[in-house]
Symmetry: D2
Amino acid sequence: MSKGRVCLAYSGGLDTSTILKWLILEGYTVVCFLANVGQEEDWAEVEKKALALGAERMVIEDLQREFVDEIVFRAIQCNAIYEDRYLLGTSLARPIIARAQVRVAQQYNCEYLSHGCTGKGVRFELAFKACNPSMKVIAPWRLPEFIQKFQGRADLLKFAAENNIPVSSSPKAPWSMDDNLVHCSYEAGVLEDPDHSPPKELWTRTVDPTDAPDVPYNFTIHFEKGIPVKVVTPEGETTGSVELFKLLNKIGHDNGVGRVDIVENRFIGLKSRGCYDTPGLTIARLAHVDLEGLVMDSKVRKLRDQFVTIEWSHCLYNGMYFSPEREFLENSIVFSQKNVSGEVRMSVYKGAAYTLGRKSDASNLYSQEDASMDSLETFSPMDTTGFIAIQAIRLEKYGLQKIKDGEPLSK
Amino acid sequence: MSKGRVCLAYSGGLDTSTILKWLILEGYTVVCFLANVGQEEDWAEVEKKALALGAERMVIEDLQREFVDEIVFRAIQCNAIYEDRYLLGTSLARPIIARAQVRVAQQYNCEYLSHGCTGKGVRFELAFKACNPSMKVIAPWRLPEFIQKFQGRADLLKFAAENNIPVSSSPKAPWSMDDNLVHCSYEAGVLEDPDHSPPKELWTRTVDPTDAPDVPYNFTIHFEKGIPVKVVTPEGETTGSVELFKLLNKIGHDNGVGRVDIVENRFIGLKSRGCYDTPGLTIARLAHVDLEGLVMDSKVRKLRDQFVTIEWSHCLYNGMYFSPEREFLENSIVFSQKNVSGEVRMSVYKGAAYTLGRKSDASNLYSQEDASMDSLETFSPMDTTGFIAIQAIRLEKYGLQKIKDGEPLSK
Amino acid sequence: MSKGRVCLAYSGGLDTSTILKWLILEGYTVVCFLANVGQEEDWAEVEKKALALGAERMVIEDLQREFVDEIVFRAIQCNAIYEDRYLLGTSLARPIIARAQVRVAQQYNCEYLSHGCTGKGVRFELAFKACNPSMKVIAPWRLPEFIQKFQGRADLLKFAAENNIPVSSSPKAPWSMDDNLVHCSYEAGVLEDPDHSPPKELWTRTVDPTDAPDVPYNFTIHFEKGIPVKVVTPEGETTGSVELFKLLNKIGHDNGVGRVDIVENRFIGLKSRGCYDTPGLTIARLAHVDLEGLVMDSKVRKLRDQFVTIEWSHCLYNGMYFSPEREFLENSIVFSQKNVSGEVRMSVYKGAAYTLGRKSDASNLYSQEDASMDSLETFSPMDTTGFIAIQAIRLEKYGLQKIKDGEPLSK
Amino acid sequence: MSKGRVCLAYSGGLDTSTILKWLILEGYTVVCFLANVGQEEDWAEVEKKALALGAERMVIEDLQREFVDEIVFRAIQCNAIYEDRYLLGTSLARPIIARAQVRVAQQYNCEYLSHGCTGKGVRFELAFKACNPSMKVIAPWRLPEFIQKFQGRADLLKFAAENNIPVSSSPKAPWSMDDNLVHCSYEAGVLEDPDHSPPKELWTRTVDPTDAPDVPYNFTIHFEKGIPVKVVTPEGETTGSVELFKLLNKIGHDNGVGRVDIVENRFIGLKSRGCYDTPGLTIARLAHVDLEGLVMDSKVRKLRDQFVTIEWSHCLYNGMYFSPEREFLENSIVFSQKNVSGEVRMSVYKGAAYTLGRKSDASNLYSQEDASMDSLETFSPMDTTGFIAIQAIRLEKYGLQKIKDGEPLSK
């Protein structure tokens, strides 16, 4: 009799194939699940393999649209960035994948969720716990008995041989990768030395800037309430969230835009080196930041930058998407974008993206007349005198105190 | 008899020449002051002109070193940036110039400070008030009698003709510029239309990326306590704050690095469009951010990013350099940089800058062993289980509440 | 012919009576306006006086309900407080009064708004500008010709005598007061010495704690979504926003609750000493803070405390109620209060307020079982081990670095 | 042969006596450690008991002075408070105790640290890990074998009887307590029902307000750089950090000042109800907040409140005293207090504390002349006009946008 039904996140690789077989040998019935969040995959091959190894069922779900609509666009709306550099590609996909796995588990009456992650599993499991607190998790790489059995790659290969698990003969890259619609990440292996530059062949989502076209490529992104709704290129117009995001990815790819190579602080307190290529989101974020310059109030922007952008980015990075604070922050994000509508003309060229111009009918905050030095409509130069006088009250006291303290500012 | 002695910020242009003459005609004795903060200028010509127009004295001071050491390096140390884009080039120079003008005024017994700014004068005057609260300011462009007399360029030219003020015959650029060691800014004129792209000939501090060399240029920046102390290029080593900053400017210039084109929020509540090319600081900031990834504690970094970086940048932008809050923030900046020592290998290529690698002996926070997935030294996978369980307590309650509210998260 | 119609904020006092007469003499037609925001006033007398002095009309509006519903309750929902002490009584009323004055001005076709404030007028005028940017403001105490004419109280009294303005014969308190439903403020005069204690007779809204009843008075406040909806006392139940707020005022008054005496930082950069008695809001705020302890998520609370509470309080204090940032913040306040429903038992006694207990059905965050040390349902002690191990990773590195630096933490 | 030497935090109670005996039976040599942080204790009795049970040594250290000087005064300097209510009494003592235990362990060559905490041990252990990362921790209440053996109080009593562990015959309070110089905390037991009011006899550090003297008691606290250095009462002057803190405790105690009863968010994500009486720190904090009103710059204060106060309080609460971020924050605290010198006159009466006045020679920020409405020295009323005009630019645009959007603000 089965010990129960497990919904296993299954990729077709050696690790999750081993786990699939091990779970079956342990007496579980296994429903395999694979999320399509835009990565490269031979979907039919994965299904064939899962069923061959004894899975009760292989469920593959295309989550690209909910990924873009619910999370990627939110990241764009708040200019999400982690530690000034990382656009959160992996973190953005995790909650979408985890929620879908819980849904599948519920649909097929599974009592358990399982995955092949080690440390990286934190984000998945936090999402599991929020999405269905009553579902139990089997994380083999944290079970003493499993770790005991599989102490290295040799043990995995031996088990594979004994259990007819096909092993890919193609040589593995000397780093690990995680691929989705937003980016591909590269870490571990040779990259663990933070002074070892990523080799040219590492990057999969962007051409090398030196190989990119010799002329800039120009296009326009249209936004409504902070969300990209149309991309206009010399070749035509593209709408539809996934479609236009893929187009931005292609533009970024072809022109080498969106590479970063950083050492970042992981949630658990360790530092980790990662390389990421994130073509479309890099472009979309820049355009969005630029449009906000034109239409967003300065005080709202400062509050949003200081609190919402940084906190939302940390929430996502730390696997706290399904949390009260993310919901709280997201309410602010959406509200802040009421007038962020307009279009931004962009250019990409050999690794960099530029803004060429922007316009909007949604906001009255920028006024060419006000901006002109010649116009005195809005306020008079004498008003500035009063403004300075009041602002200076505090500073004069500061200056006087410094003189009294023997440390005059005009030293 | 003289109405008193005025220290006038004098550039040699039509505006300040007019003011110089007007002050003399009004009965003041005028000491002219011009700060050398790294801009292009025919210094001898300016002096000649000032004296010819009747200035008692022309004082030119080279402030480049104090500019770099006291302010530019502080900006690098805190990754200063305004509204996600602007590196504050103009704002960084203002306090240095204003303080020097006060010093000169004190030295030559002036009772008044004067300048030729309109709205932009806010930053100067706030600094004047702090540096010497007892000194009075004459801001002609905010005096009704002056504005009355000079209602347009025609009035200025007429006054110039009547008073032998030489007028440059070279045509004026259709925008205004402000140049210093850090950047050149371009605004007003045709740029007031935010959808009017800056023409190729606008940029003075960077070559057009399409004209930059066809091969990347690599070099290394060494930092001590967050300050760049050495730049190593294929051609040799450069030390000395001004010298190495100029070298970074040259590297950025030659490779087209550091252009931004934005609409920003001015202190007084208006939006303004500005284009800036900031070659060296763009490169130095990127290298510094990168090094911090390797050596700075995650919690300190988040606090610093959220509070210090944003607030210091706003202080400077708003002309509040000489203020209690800037001093308070700067104390934090310096403290945060204790371990930010190491070197960053960089590459620039046709408009973009990249990090190639970094290393540091100053911090133990990054460990290749910890980063490796294979190492279980620091903590065991079972610890992660406990960590997740505790972190999930709050999230499970959230998920249960959502179920109770009829909005299950696994919808 | 009239120069136009002015809507004047008219209190019946010497200052605004003088302004009323002066405006008429200057050729304006004047509509007087007085807001009832809960202050003590002889309304009929004010009206009589205005009309006798030549006002075209006297409009008195009862704004108490919109004051409580739109602003006071929002202050309670976000625990508004300025500089840790001041509950913002004056600042809360200003936008309500200003908006009503603009409404009245619009209704009676006035082109001008006028008031008798000096510095304090900042809040009024910022609200005027936002509520109707096209309406012009006449602020006599900032007009050189008016200030010239009325250089002291003697000039006012002389003008009053010449123009049949009745002058109150009751002696003026040696400080100025501002009274509304929320509080009474006392400042200036003898209070300008910050070491001069407010005399016992100063306070008008609270009895002296030493004169309060000798037994505690207990009652219960019910909240829905952060708003007090019912107060239950030994004498019965009270609902209705204004009614229950008045009851809380009475409870606070009778028991001496809600006095503060502070030196605060005014918007314009000066410090000012103020005494405030704020009986009902002090009680309501305490009860609300307490209930949030029971029902609000910890991370949401920290974000709200750090950003929303402090920023909303500063907005109001600085007269920025009608602003994009206040709207942005308020959206967060309302969202944060979804589950802040329940009841809090309170006690007041001789100057202090206490919470006695609280309960709520709206949230599952507090659980008596979880709280119990004996329960191991939610997580096991072994989980704590893992939690500690992960949390300590960063701290161990810190400790090791300190040892290396020769400053061991266990010194 | 001994398994090694353990330094055990030993209180003399049933739990730690059981652990002491159990460790010995397991084969360890045990050095007992008890910190004197100001709690009530029969020190000789504890020592006698430890030695009788087989401890190699009993070390009792008086840590009161370092507790007050290094941590309590820092809390006062930054107005530390957790979730608006809790003055952190327990959290403040933990790092001092933990560090001393590590010191003692090092001194007596222990390899292990042990304690009798369950969940509460998080703060101790995080401090242990930072202070000496190489020392191992034995936390019996998280060891499966120990928990197995001691499943309830009956098991403990049985073990005590078998091992000659004396058991106190005095009935245990129906809640748990933690006592130190700063406060006594009460939680668990009957208090787990958050609507169960704390009974009158619970409080040990404050008299019931209704039993306090019928007349206010007045005194003055002198501060230097934010630290209380002298307390002047009708009975005389007290200096010395521990001495004056004890005096403030006595004043608070006698007048019933410093009780709070809250539900708080614990680090691990659960809510917990706690009652605390914190007499001296409540008074000192109020006085310090008040003095800052007089002498601290407004912008520094806002930054400090928003970032430093809240973050330092969270650090301490979460057991992160020995951390890079606490060190970073503390650097800011100390810097912010440069001018916080002066004296505050206070009054306490039946549960409440009041400020009566304050003065300082250290700062020029408050000026009686500036504060006066009659003075026009600092700025003219016309300056205010300009200030308002500039501040209103943004608000007018907001108002106009609202009109355009069909939602006029003057609705």
